[in-house]
Symmetry: none
Subunit: 227 residues, 4 copies
């Protein structure tokens, strides 16, 4: 609008970016709703209001949109995590409340979860995709693992399994619960995730104090031995 940056100049690049963005967004919605295999390129193009050729002007193949979504997924998750990770010097309560709000988000985030499941399923089938996927996944798991580790450290407790494994398990729980969602029933995902988190903390040993106390309460199940 200003004299130095007239609107018309950017119009072309912008319109290209818009096309691409609309296709990506439509693809995400359809993948979530109908699955990757259940979504055709014609569906995506039609729904986005373009021709099939427009799709192929922007992506080399159907799988490449999925990769694009994967990248977006990764960035969103990373941004999410950085909020929690950068909380140096905060009290445990603050981290917990961060996690709590994160868990609450999940209730409204069914789409992301379903997309994540589609990504995982496709990775199980396409070796090409699997390689790219694993990188993103491992990075995310490591990031969430660091948050988990930090939380236990702040509480002065030994986590009952490798923090990364626990991170993976929480993601598994999240995805599995997303899969159980049925229209019309309330979704207890966020609440249940916190219940499990509280459980882990409760069963975590105090490194120096008597570590067996909790285990005793938990019956005959021995605590996680190593860090």
């Amino acid at each position: 609008m200003s004299p130095t940056t007239p609107r018309k100049r950017l119009s072309r690049e912008e319109s290209q970016a818009q096309t691409r963005a609309r296709l990506i967004d439509t693809a995400r919605q359809l993948f979530v709703t109908n699955g990757y295999g259940g979504t055709s390129i014609r569906d995506i193009a039609d729904e986005a209001g373009y021709s099939q050729g427009a799709f192929y002007s922007n992506f080399a193949s159907k799988e490449e949109v999925l990769l694009e979504l994967l990248r977006g997924h990764m960035e969103a998750e990373a941004a999410h995590l950085s909020n929690v990770i950068d909380s140096d010097g905060r009290a445990p309560e603050q981290i917990l409340s961060e996690l709590e709000s994160w868990a609450a988000t999940l209730n409204n985030d069914a789409d992301w979860c379903m997309l994540s499941i589609e990504l995982q399923l496709h990775a199980n089938r396409s070796p090409t995709f699997a390689a790219e996927y694993q990188t993103v996944w491992d990075a995310h798991r490591a990031g969430l693992g660091r948050v988990v580790g930090r939380l236990f450290a702040m509480l002065g407790r030994t986590p009952p399994a490798e923090p990364e494994e626990l991170a993976g398990a929480f993601m598994a729980l999240t995805h599995g619960l997303a899969l159980q969602r049925v229209g019309g029933r309330p979704d207890p995902s966020g609440r249940l995730i916190l219940v499990f988190l509280r459980g882990l903390i409760a069963s975590a040993g105090l490194p120096d104090a008597a570590p067996g106390a909790d285990a005793e309460q938990a019956g005959q199940i021995p605590p996680y031995p190593g860090g």
Copy 2:
């Protein structure tokens, strides 16, 4: 049945049953490997050694095999549970060891889990299928919920959420972990499930005794209030 042709009669029925059984079994394997959408009826028929027509002599549609698998799934799960449920008068340790062995099975049971995921995904998409699926699912969740409830009762503890919800969460965890399986990496599913179970028990309140003890250890997270 008649004395002159006792075998033939049976053999014909048997051969039909065999055809059907082989088709179902082949379908299960292929659905697990390639997904429901990624498996064609020709694939199933070819792999089972029959014609496509044979498939349609046994099933009205592709979805009907999935229903058949669902029924088999249900039966298998129910049988599994009844081992644990019928253990009236057993000590908590015994139930826990049952659960432990069940968790161990999961490591080798990736196929059932993947099938379960396929069923869930398809239920999300096909209303016809969803109704049938929900019945089975609810029954199974209720059954596992009863086991969970009984376990907590035996331990004299209040579960930190509705036993049925906890049951659903464990199934979610199991499925989510199955999805994360990557060829070549060890699968920690069984171990992690037990870690989470121990956590729940550790964080469960002793109904009459001082209920805050665990919560105190777990920091500022209040325990699950109601049963």
Copy 3:
């Protein structure tokens, strides 16, 4: 019709064979007219009066029809040759008249030639096809080479190049002339082929008698040295 071979029995197999034959025949016509690349499976199916699926019930791929045509081509050519080859003890004039009639056929055989060119072109591009093609081609060239060799032997002359090479050259000439055909202009193929054949015979040396006589007449061009 007879009681032992009722018509109805064969009806199914026959109708299948008919479908296949019609598709092959339509494919040949279209390949000749529009080329292999210029002919779509939809074209073939539509023109033959079937669905595209019917095509794929009969052939695994587009290339496979071409292979089928190749086989037919081979058989027709072989049959053609056996007429000439089996003429043991015939006089040279008879062989020549056979060849003359064969050359005459070519005028009406533009289709076979164009098909042959399509086959050769496709062999240049598809390694899969090339292997199958080369076998057929070599066999046919060897067969025609034997006819050529026998002809020169009967005339008591030494051929001016390896009979197989000469055979290849005559086929090349035939194909090249077919390519030159233009609607509306008379086609001199058959006549020209015979002109060239006469030339070869005229320039062939008499093995024992003065072999240089012809060469002398032909100017400074030395005759083909080896047999």
Copy 4:
């Protein structure tokens, strides 16, 4: 053109010419390798290092590049022929050695031959193209025919068919042999063409002397009667 910018002006035109030339050259290579139908405009543009738009800035359609190639083909062939034709007063041996060296060229000229075949095939299919093609073809055939006629005249012989027809036949032979080329096998094209040429000369009648001598040797095949 102006003294201040003599280079720039020219360089722009030159660069346009260069773009065009590169596109034409790339098109030729790809048509030879993959055929006209098997080559896309994107292939040409990409391989030449330009955009598809650049192609359409230089050619109105895909067929127009083919026409351009046809013109270049014609010029190259005409240049080739003028070497031979302008040799007034040379001895027959010289003409023959010219032809011999031309035939030798063919061995390395598979590309031109394949292009020629593509042109002929396309002319058979596109009426637009056919008209243009026929002009070029007829001119070239007439030119080569004149060379052939002159050769026979110098040898004092009557050609066994119209010189133009013989010219066409030699081109047919050349193209047909090019089509037979298989990677890894030696190419006998040049040698065989000379063998056929020698044959024609050997079978050509001496106009005034006893014309039947050769024919007698060639068995019962009567010589070409008319000029």
